[in-house]
Symmetry: C2
Subunit: 511 residues, 2 copies
């Protein structure tokens, strides 16, 4: 079995326990790991390192692909090992530490991490810790359920620790397409013109002399249960699909749409589920994360091909994927996130980008990272890579949050991740606001009338009226621009007066 997974005999002598491998990590090191969502990240060595961290002082800078499982972000954070972290996270422990500023967190566009590392902007990379399904006779690494930034981390790191995960089937081999662009001034066009193009190698090139430890483990990807499709998400999905049909009728989209990118979570699931029930066929997916609903679309014959950087289904979805891997691998390619999220490719293919917003303002600016402008939720992730270069850039959000105490449509967002310049469409359960070719005041009217919760519309209109009296191309009444957030922080609701709050609370969220 070892020989099946480690095909370069001289490397067999590097096999050791996770605890032994974790001893190779030194205080102050920068460590880059595999993993993108809770898929394909190292597990055994981080857990062993966390054990070490409980007994001795050891602080590291941690680079990953994106979010990773609790064995890495969670255990290391709780053991106090993480001093600095990039570029994206979704783990409660590390999120809490980031917001307490116990962990320094750098929130970078996911497509830019690898090149910024190669450019030397992020400092020296001491070590890569990488999950693999196997090591080739040349010493190259076969990744598992994600690619993320692993190719560049392996290229840059002085030392590499490989975790061979035997819970990851060998049939994953061949699903990956590894391409690292040359750096300027020598970079060439990325030769990818179709979702199913293969442009690289099925392995991550690795100098075998760099490999200082190999650890066997069988800890499974810590996949999450599917976010349930609630009534609001379902309505948002229906609104969006109806919008797609209008665009096709208007001649602005082909009948099989253009390659889709979708964020993760309830809304994304609902949209893909809605497409599965629609009469769309021959769809393509060029995105980051591949979830259960994508398998549905493939199984139904409605989706032609899928490109991503990570497979992150639910527990049952993972079982389904493993059981049908020989069929799925014909229709799925996993790429480095520098390619899955590459603006050059996104603009060329004409991606329809669908991402979620925390809040949207009346002029179409989107906050996708900071609760009330200060507390980090997850990070910008790939939303900026896609929105800034997409054919159509769509943001979805329920019209309210916290049982109506928060309006997700506000006078001015408290943090901007996507500007008015790259937000084409807003979707809520109430409707679709098409912001293209509209000036700011037209956008405000469109968003208020189509997307805001009806209970908040009068207040948004009142704000807009007050702002219009102040004048300007993008009218704002600055003393009240952030007043909804301030009110929420002090009184737990955004509604302008307590009287109206009482009236609002009696009503239903969705009509």
């Amino acid at each position: 079995m070892e020989e099946n997974r480690i095909r370069r005999p001289e490397l067999l002598k590097k096999v050791m326990s996770a605890a032994e491998a974790a001893e190779l990590v030194k205080d102050g090191m920068t460590i880059g790991t595999s993993g993108f969502t809770p898929a394909g990240y190292p597990k055994a060595v981080p857990l062993a390192l966390a054990e070490r961290g409980k007994k001795e002082k050891i602080k590291i800078t941690l680079w990953t692909g994106a979010s990773v499982g609790d064995e890495l972000d969670g255990a290391l954070t709780r053991a106090g090992v993480v001093a600095k972290r990039l570029p994206y996270q979704t783990n409660n422990s590390i999120r809490d530490a980031i917001n307490k500023r116990e962990v320094e967190y750098i929130d970078i566009h996911l497509s830019q991490v690898a090149q910024q590392a190669r450019y030397g902007f992020l400092g020296y990379l001491d070590m890569a810790i990488v999950e693999a399904v196997a090591i080739t006779p040349e010493g190259h690494l076969i990744p598992s359920t994600s690619v993320g930034n692993t190719p560049t981390f392996v290229k840059l790191a002085e030392k590499v620790i490989v975790e061979i995960n035997t819970s990851q089937p060998l049939e994953l081999e061949g699903m990956h397409d590894i391409y690292i662009p040359a750096d300027p001034p020598k970079r060439q066009p990325i030769p990818l013109t179709r979702v199913d193009d293969r442009i690289g190698t099925p392995y991550i090139p690795c100098d075998p002399d760099k490999i200082v430890a190999i650890v066997f483990t069988d800890i499974q990807d810590n996949v999450r249960p599917l976010a349930p499709v609630d009534a609001i998400s379902k309505q948002m999905a229906e609104n969006l699909i109806e919008f797609f049909k209008q665009e096709i009728r208007a001649g602005r989209l082909p009948s099989n749409l253009l390659p889709l990118q979708s964020g993760v979570g309830s809304v994304a699931n609902a949209v893909l589920a809605g497409l599965a029930q629609s009469d769309f066929t021959n769809l393509e997916f060029y995105s980051e994360v591949i979830q259960d609903s994508v398998f549905d679309l493939l199984d139904l014959g409605k989706m032609r091909f899928v490109s991503g950087t990570s497979i992150t289904p639910s527990e049952t979805g993972l079982k389904r994927f493993y059981e049908n891997i020989k069929s799925y691998r014909q229709k799925i390619i996993l790429r480095p996130q520098e390619i899955s999220n590459n603006p050059e490719v996104i603009r060329r293919l004409g991606i329809i980008a669908m991402n979620t917003a925390i809040e949207v303002d009346i002029y179409g600016n989107v906050n996708s990272t900071h609760i009330m402008g200060t507390r980090m939720m997850n990070g910008i992730g790939g939303s900026g890579d896609f929105s800034r270069s997409a054919y159509l850039s769509i943001f979805a959000t329920p019209s309210t949050a916290k049982n109506g105490a928060i309006s997700c449509i506000v006078p001015m967002v408290s943090h901007v991740d996507h500007t008015e310049h790259e937000v084409h469409v807003i979707v809520t359960e109430w409707g679709v606001a098409d912001l293209r070719n509209k000036c700011p005041v037209e956008r405000a009217q469109e968003i208020i009338n189509k997307c805001a919760h009806p209970n908040y519309r009068p207040w948004l209109k009142e704000y807009l009226d007050k702002a219009l009296k102040k004048g300007g191309h993008t009218p704002h009444y600055l003393p009240e621009a952030l007043s909804w957030h301030i009110r929420f922080e002090t009184s737990g609701h955004m509604i302008p007066t307590l009287k109206e709050e009482a009236a609002l609370m009696k009503e239903e969220r969705v009509g």
Copy 2:
């Protein structure tokens, strides 16, 4: 002479006066024109149309490349002819009308205008009005001092009016390189890997049957005097050049830098003038606008090659260009703005993007369009095309404006055009803040200590301290986040107290 400029004899019968041509414009039409900065825009027909507009009700939607001369934006606005306008402007008359909301204005990333027009997002294009130096035997158009969006406008428009401008020398022929990408899903890689690559044709393809009028004119480009290089701009340029040298020493930039993009105006001029006096050689320029300082760099042999979409020197610079055109045309290519500003190419070439900010906040968000969050200055222009894909994204601003009454470093910007995610470096006359690989609080300290005016530093620190007590990854004290802008609107200065204002006003701006 006419035969020299109109080389397709059957088109000679389309020659008419500007007034006759202007009659072809109908109320409600959408008109796309040539022009990018006051260079290469049509002049005679717009002036004639403005005359018509004084006598009869005629409203048009106007698309251009970017800003244009007063004969177009100014005269038509003052005659009440412009109902809607995109994508960028710098003209006092139209800016005033935009801020009074008499003109609807759509502020689009300059690289995206042509494709959004082709995708059908902007509506139907009735007519293109285009300045040319000549029409080829096939009916194709030789542009003059800019390319802008003209190739796509000519392709899409139902009818084309050509202004042959005899003040523009025939020697411009051959300087242009016209390439229109195919649209998704058929788009291919843009085959440009070096600043001096030619990938298209030297003319704008045009179906001669579309040409409904040809007008001769000799009105020169309404070029502007050079913004003088003041002490503050000079200091900013020195700071930036020193930063480049540090980056070279650190191995993060090659010794001849990477291709430079530079906005227009005083700071840009100063930086390029600073490079002319430095020992840098073999520089390359991949930008939008080519100004006098670029000719200096070419003449000194310090710059190898220049790519842009527009030549906009001063009056003396234009004379100098015309006199030496045979030499300059060996080293300058003019491209459509969809290519000069193309994110695919910008990321591939590794552009160093240098743009100006109206204000910057302590976390590195940049406002480059809206005075006090409401009043449109010019527009985002190409700054977003470049900043979002640059190798290094640099924003420059003096630390204060209005004789110190405004701090250009504020707690929270009143409008965001460039987010913390794509702003690497801030430069003021006080220093350079390197924001790469820094978490928000580190960025705030860097910006306050390196870039803010010393008189404002205590107030910024006081804000940051107050925000830190509120907590979160990106600390803000929302009730005061926009208080500096509110104070300016009510009292004409941003300084927190009148007592401190008095103290501040006694001091000099630059130490």
